[in-house]
Symmetry: C2
């Protein structure tokens, strides 16, 4: 019996992890990874820290270089792109330079990731149609290096989009000494992560750090003949515009799944534009799996097909796809809980589960509570931890949590993810024994207090 | 209708909290708190931090002084002791100085706490029968002050007992510059909190800090005519003895519930010596509730009646007892999960649920995994977090967790408490979305890795 041939398209967190777990599960399998980039598997979530200089170099973000894979008998190819999949003959065409090679597979894992969305902005290109100097996206290691290079001489930057990447990039450039303005079309920062009332605390901190925050506004045009000299920002509400001088513009308005290749193979593409996968990371086409940012999977709470877009989810899905590609039977959780976080100086911002708007859009009747309580006992230096909890009006099961504080928000969000995944009710979380310890947490943890408050509201309803 | 008369015996975490919640639930109730001590409600768990000097003064541990209660219409009496309860006439006799007062109650909350056990040690008393100078326990604020006073001039100390209080006291005295030896009869430190394999890491850290750790040994005698000059330590295994010179001896061999008063009222006392309570904090006698260290309640996993002995449990029980004492219907969780933690310099030590020995004694068939994995991504300074997870062999539900690391152990133990309370299976915890963020946690959290490892072991069984 000949060994199984596994081809993995994409060498990032999902693809690299798929290769690693395929290898662990099957020592005989022939495994090839096709990567457009040259660096091997690196931490995309670390880019902002290399940009700010908190992490010394971009190269230190490389977790598993091509050589690491080669040593484990994985044919990790760099600088190649897959052009066509022919699922009937299980063939994939791979372009390197001007040469196309046909590779045959038994199983294919598509882990092509995402591409930054480019918004419609007047003057974003030069009159010759090429990208204007000083306009950036932040997706790849090279993107990060380019931004840092420009950041070294630039005086001011505008960031379009205050999602997770936009906010983190804004803070990184501020850290480098630039004057930073961030522009967000929605009414509050981090709109897909936080409800507006929680986002307010984050926005306040950003302002304290010296970042100019303009919500409810869009970058409408870029001025400058060859490079960015200024941008025009338009208020969504009334169309009023203002001009902001800047040396660079970072576009961070979201990421689209790179699903074209999968589409060419006949894989079902969902409403999000992502490749539809099930809990085995199977696509609609036999022997083709997908994982990571290119895929869509149901939200755990709402059931709505959602883009994954998180490093830890890419790793979990890569694991499942890799194991199943060699004939295993690994499974994802039945949906995405989507725990997510960012850090600002002296601030942890975390969430798990859908926002209130997302829950309402899905027709789920919820109630929420928001408290801001001391994160430690009074006789230790302490600060407020803001906790918003959301639970089903019917049955009181927790469905989401949003936390902002100087410490302990990230791990409490993870604790809430467990509560959400297990349908813990608000009144149970109010009683659960968190870890009381004077230097770590008060006897009634902020989660207990928030849950108690929510339970009371639910009871009164 | 006249207002309800509530008497609370004990003004610590349980009693003080009972008074607060009784007042919140009933603005008309007459509430009296009878406290032996003078300070009001203070943080017992903070004593070691005031001892070490991490917290500036013992007085800063006072969270709610007598005046705070008086302002809220609570008659908080200090320096009094309750001597007899007459449940038929709902009478309690209260001694202040030489005067006894009879108080009548509608509801009584017994929150008398615990008293340090005094082990059988030769020469612990002077020939006249009084306590020998230099021998201490650490239970009250006054105890803490006495130890600190002696610690200011003493050169060396021996701690009898390496439970949570013993270990914390040992580190506090080390912090003050004393040579410290800790002696534990069991084979490992923190024996009711950690399995021996996990305790090893803690013991190593204690040794690194300069604490001499003697496990499997007892303090068998105290030498010195009026005060402690040395102690004799006996090895349990073979009876071999050694003498250790020291200026002070701290007894930390456990706490006994102060249940005598409740016993006098006819309240059922359990095998632990604690007052038996149900999920409403009701005792076996009508209109008498109990809460905190004086009570026993079932363990959530084993069902075994257990002493509470934790500040956060005292607060939770005080809340329930207080609300129910004024006619409410608050409930505890159906058992004690007993999340618990201590801190050493650069080390968090936490656990939730029973130890392996406790589970085996209860006849529960379990399997465990232990891993030590990086607590952050490689490009951030990181260290190993040791995670031991325990699950039922049958069904794989998690029943316990023990964590040791330089950061993130406490809050991950709390997350595990949620998993334990909701019967999350090892394979679910392996997949749950913890909060990945480079400065906080790797994409696969140490909990994910430990759970995966455990799930594999369970599957192979």
């Amino acid at each position: 019996m000949s060994s199984k041939k596994v081809v993995i398209v994409g060498g990032g967190a999902a693809g690299g992890t798929a290769a690693q777990f395929a290898r662990k599960a099957d020592r005989e399998a022939q495994i090839a990874v096709l990567s457009r980039e040259e660096h091997g598997q690196y931490s995309r979530c670390g880019l902002v820290y290399a940009l700010s200089g908190v992490v010394e170099s971009f190269d230190s973000l490389i977790e598993f270089g091509p050589g690491w894979f080669q040593e484990r008998g994985i044919d990790y190819r760099t600088g190649v792109s897959a052009t066509i999949i022919e699922p009937n003959s299980r063939r994939i065409d791979v372009l390197k330079g001007h040469n196309t090679e046909n590779i045959f597979y038994d199983s294919l894992v598509i882990a092509t990731g995402g591409v930054p969305k480019i918004p419609e902005i007047d003057g974003i290109h030069t009159t010759e149609g090429s990208a204007k100097d000083g306009i950036f996206v932040l997706r790849t290691l090279e993107d990060g290096k380019h931004i840092k290079e420009r950041g070294a001489t630039a005086k001011s930057a505008v960031i379009a989009g205050a999602g997770m990447i936009g906010v983190e990039a804004a803070d990184a450039l501020r850290h480098l000494g630039l004057n930073v303005t961030i522009v967000e079309a929605e009414g509050s920062v981090l709109p897909t992560m936080l409800d507006p009332d929680v986002a307010e605390t984050v926005e306040l901190r950003m302002r304290e750090l010296g970042i100019v925050v303009k919500t409810g506004a869009l970058v409408s045009s870029v001025n400058g003949a060859r490079g960015v000299e200024s941008v025009r920002v338009k208020r969504v509400a009334d169309g009023a515009t203002a001009e902001i001088n800047c040396d660079m513009l970072v576009l961070a308005v979201g990421t689209a799944p790179a699903a074209k290749l999968a589409g060419s193979a006949g894989c079902a593409i969902g409403a999000t534009g992502g490749i539809v996968i099930d809990d085995r990371c199977s696509t609609s086409v036999q022997n083709i799996f997908a994982a990571g940012d290119c895929s869509e999977y149901r939200d755990f709470i709402t059931g709505v097909p959602s883009l994954c877009g998180m490093g830890h989810i890419a790793v979990q899905q890569g694991r499942v796809a890799g194991i199943n590609a060699v004939g295993g039977d690994a499974r994802l959780l039945p949906g995405l809980v989507t725990t997510r976080g960012i850090s600002l100086p002296d601030m942890e911002v975390s969430a798990t589960g859908p926002t209130t708007d997302q829950l309402k859009a899905a027709g789920i009747d919820v109630m929420a509570s928001r408290v801001a309580v001391d994160d430690r006992v009074p006789y230790f230096p302490n600060s407020k931890l803001a906790v918003k909890l959301i639970a089903r009006a019917d049955g009181h099961a927790l469905v989401g949590a949003q936390l902002v504080g100087s410490r302990g928000a990230h791990l409490r969000a993870a604790a809430c993810a467990i509560a959400v995944a297990k349908g813990m009710r608000a009144e149970e979380l109010a009683r659960i024994e968190m870890c009381y310890l004077p230097p770590a947490a008060p006897p009634l943890d902020p989660l207990n207090v928030a849950a108690e408050f929510l339970a009371k509201r639910l009871e009164k309803r």
